[in-house]
């Protein structure tokens, strides 16, 4: 084993939050080193330039880690969830769709609202400036002025094109008297920050052009320019703790040489996502887990999905994948029979003719045999997808653990993931399914299909695009893993900046919020580094 000279800040994980933290800290003059178990993903590596991109997106470019055969990945054992994860520089921004809505103020106050989920130790107002900063750094598009959300700065670029699918949806929502608003996206509608505007290709699972913010293109160059040292192919094995209770550094294996090394640091940041972070802590002799909350309270969101098809050709294979957001049901109304709310993430259609026939959002499939072509002609470019995504209640039994027997090729235990929706979540999903049918009817659909993601045995196999909550922040060290600055209650120079820190999941895609939280935490570390590099106790509750 080799030992390197200590750095100021050691970051584990080069995904979205690791990139943002590295940028802030290196620009602040600190010596930052980032370990990433995967590789750089060059634009030419993506499937977008090949005619078989649909097939690749279902196999070796699947966002589900368990559908790929990729050496950068590690095993995630699960009997329920499909796990969205990309292990490499830029993390899951290599395969995400970058729908970019914010949490709402009440998301941070569920403890006050009903008590079935905790309050966050911070408020929406604490985070709002960092939402704005993140938008400018990352490059987003959208339309300010939504009456269903707090006032905000204009997005750096204006809204993406209002597609014919969006028009059709807007008419349906108007008929129902429901709120709708053009979707915010981590995609630029105009040239911005040296990157080209979205060209409307519709292949929105990662974007090698960089129009969609792929963090290896949008953020990492800034971090590197500021002096961050990035080591790809470096898989973290264990975080080491010293006798004073502080983290001393990280053991990792260089996957190119097979050599195990130790990197010392004055401060350690974990940015390994809602599965990788608890896995690493649990595998590090149960580090930072006096609360027994590490890995617990896994949130995926309640999610059900539908597709409908209209007679009018709406060319829904063209343009950015998201069209409208519907926030009519985003706040709690107990008259619905459950607490918390949900949002409609309205899509366009699939850009792939193959997906249109073989199954896309709802998994509706064309018939085989005579009749196949007629079905295709009626459905392709006529379809619209709708996700209903809701705030699932934290449940300590929904959790990430480490597998007692399965290990990766370097001996680190596999992550084991368990998730099942609770009573409130099931009621919400029933309500969501009914409302999605209302949308299809209001749109005058000639065909409609929904999925509840339950398999033939009734198991909810959510496409768990969001893996959050497993090291949640809080004001009580006995019920949370980190404090309001993302600082471990137990290990004062250990910070967690990925999605595992959220206390509740909101009704939206979490990456904007996670990004804002990472910027906020990194700013705090930068401004207090001198004290943090010495203290043996958390600095703030």
């Amino acid at each position: 084993m080799t030992k390197s000279q200590d750095c100021d800040v050691l970051i584990v994980g080069a995904g979205a939050t690791g990139a943002l933290a590295a940028t802030v800290l290196a620009q602040g003059g600190l010596d930052v080193l980032c370990l990433e178990q995967g590789a750089w993903v060059e634009p030419g590596d993506h499937p977008h330039y090949s005619s078989d991109w649909t097939w690749q997106r279902r196999t070796n470019w699947s966002s589900d880690v368990n559908k790929r055969h990729h050496p950068d990945d590690y095993p995630v054992e699960t009997n329920s969830s499909q796990v969205l994860m990309w292990n490499g520089v830029g993390g899951s921004t290599n395969v995400y769709s970058a729908i970019w809505p914010r949490f709402r103020p009440s998301d941070f106050r569920k403890g006050d609202e009903h008590g079935l989920a905790p309050n966050w130790p911070i408020s929406y107002e604490d985070l709002a400036p960092f939402y704005e900063k993140a938008d400018r750094l990352i490059g987003t598009s959208g339309l300010a002025g939504d009456p269903a959300m707090p006032p905000r700065d204009p997005c750096p670029t204006g809204p993406l094109p209002f597609t014919r699918a969006a028009s059709r949806l807007a008419e349906a929502f108007d008929k129902l008297g429901w709120h709708w608003w053009p979707a915010e996206a981590g995609v630029i509608s105009e040239n911005y920050d040296g990157r080209p505007a979205c060209n409307g290709c519709g292949v929105c699972n990662g974007c090698p052009r960089g129009s969609m913010s792929k963090f290896s293109i949008s953020i990492w160059p800034k971090a590197l320019l500021a002096g961050t040292r990035l080591r790809p192919y470096a898989r973290a094995l264990k975080i080491e703790k010293g006798p004073d209770g502080r983290a001393t550094g990280v053991h990792f294996v260089d996957r190119n040489t097979g050599r195990t090394e130790f990197q010392g640091a004055k401060l350690v940041i974990i940015a390994a996502n809602g599965v990788g972070t608890p896995r690493l802590l649990l595998a590090s002799d149960n580090l930072a887990n006096s609360s027994d909350q590490v890995g617990r309270n896994l949130l995926h969101h309640t999610l059900v999905t539908s597709e409908f098809w209209v007679d009018e050709p709406i060319e829904s294979h063209m343009g950015y994948v998201a069209s409208l957001l519907g926030r009519e049901f985003a706040e709690t109304d107990v008259n619905r029979g459950f607490v918390n709310g949900f949002q409609f993430n309205c899509l366009t259609g699939t850009s792939s003719a193959g997906d249109a026939a073989a199954g896309w959002a709802s998994n509706a499939k064309a018939p085989w045999g005579r009749g196949h072509h007629e079905w295709f002609e009626r459905h392709f470019a006529h379809g619209i997808g709708v996700h209903a995504i809701g705030d699932d209640l934290p449940n300590p039994n929904n959790r990430v653990t480490i597998d007692p027997s399965v290990r990766d090729s370097y001996g680190l235990p596999a992550a084991r993931l368990f998730y099942e929706p609770g009573e409130n979540d099931r009621r919400m999903m029933n309500f969501m399914l009914d409302r999605m049918e209302d949308i299809a009817k209001a749109a005058g659909a000639f065909d409609y299909k929904a999925t509840d993601y339950r398999d033939e045995h009734g198991v909810y196999r959510t496409p768990a695009w969001h893996m959050i909550g497993t090291c949640r922040m809080g004001a009580d060290p006995e019920r949370s893993v980190v404090n309001k600055w993302n600082q471990s209650w137990d290990v004062p120079n250990l910070f967690i900046v990925d999605g595992s820190v959220v206390a509740t999941g909101g009704v939206v895609n979490p990456t904007p919020t996670i990004s804002a939280l990472a910027l906020r935490a990194a700013t705090y570390i930068r401004d207090n580094f001198r004290d943090l590099s010495m203290t043996t106790r958390p600095m703030a509750a």
């Binding site: 290709c201 519709g202 193959g354 609770g422």
Partner: protein, 187 residues
Amino acid sequence: MTDLSGLETTPEVGDDKLGPAGAATLIADFVDVLIPGERLWPSASTVGVQGHLALRLMEERGKNALPTLVKAIEAAGGPLAGLDEAARVAVVQRFEEAEPDLFGWVRDATYIAYYENPFVAEAIVLTGHPYELRPHIKGYPVRRFDLASDTPRHGRGRYTKTSDVRRVDISGLDLESNRTQAWGLKR
């Protein structure tokens, strides 16, 4: 690291009865039952779907997958050569009923390979839709957002401010009952 040992690259493509040529013909006939030629649409075998299917079957499901498919079609009444259309359809229906998982995988793979083909892409264009096999390269022409006409004017929507969050009465919800066993689409 992911175990790749099940993905050897030396498949046995046929069985003793058919041999490789007969097996290839069987798969070509099979994909044509799934996607027959019609009007401007070429049949699946015309554009070579069977070759892609065979490779992908092997790559994703292992070296035994292709002979397993051949045997499954045979067990359902294949080969298909020499049968009329109704009889071919009946064979495929029996295969679908007997091996739904394998059939579903093969059907989806057939569809995807078919629509990745340039001749099929041209047929899509002839139906009146712009369509590119690799749209990412040049994109599609989509009208820019028009602030004057596209901005919502409905005025609907609300949010609860932090200072306005109030306790809701959940006593009537009975969330401890765990009573919603029938949920989702099957209610």
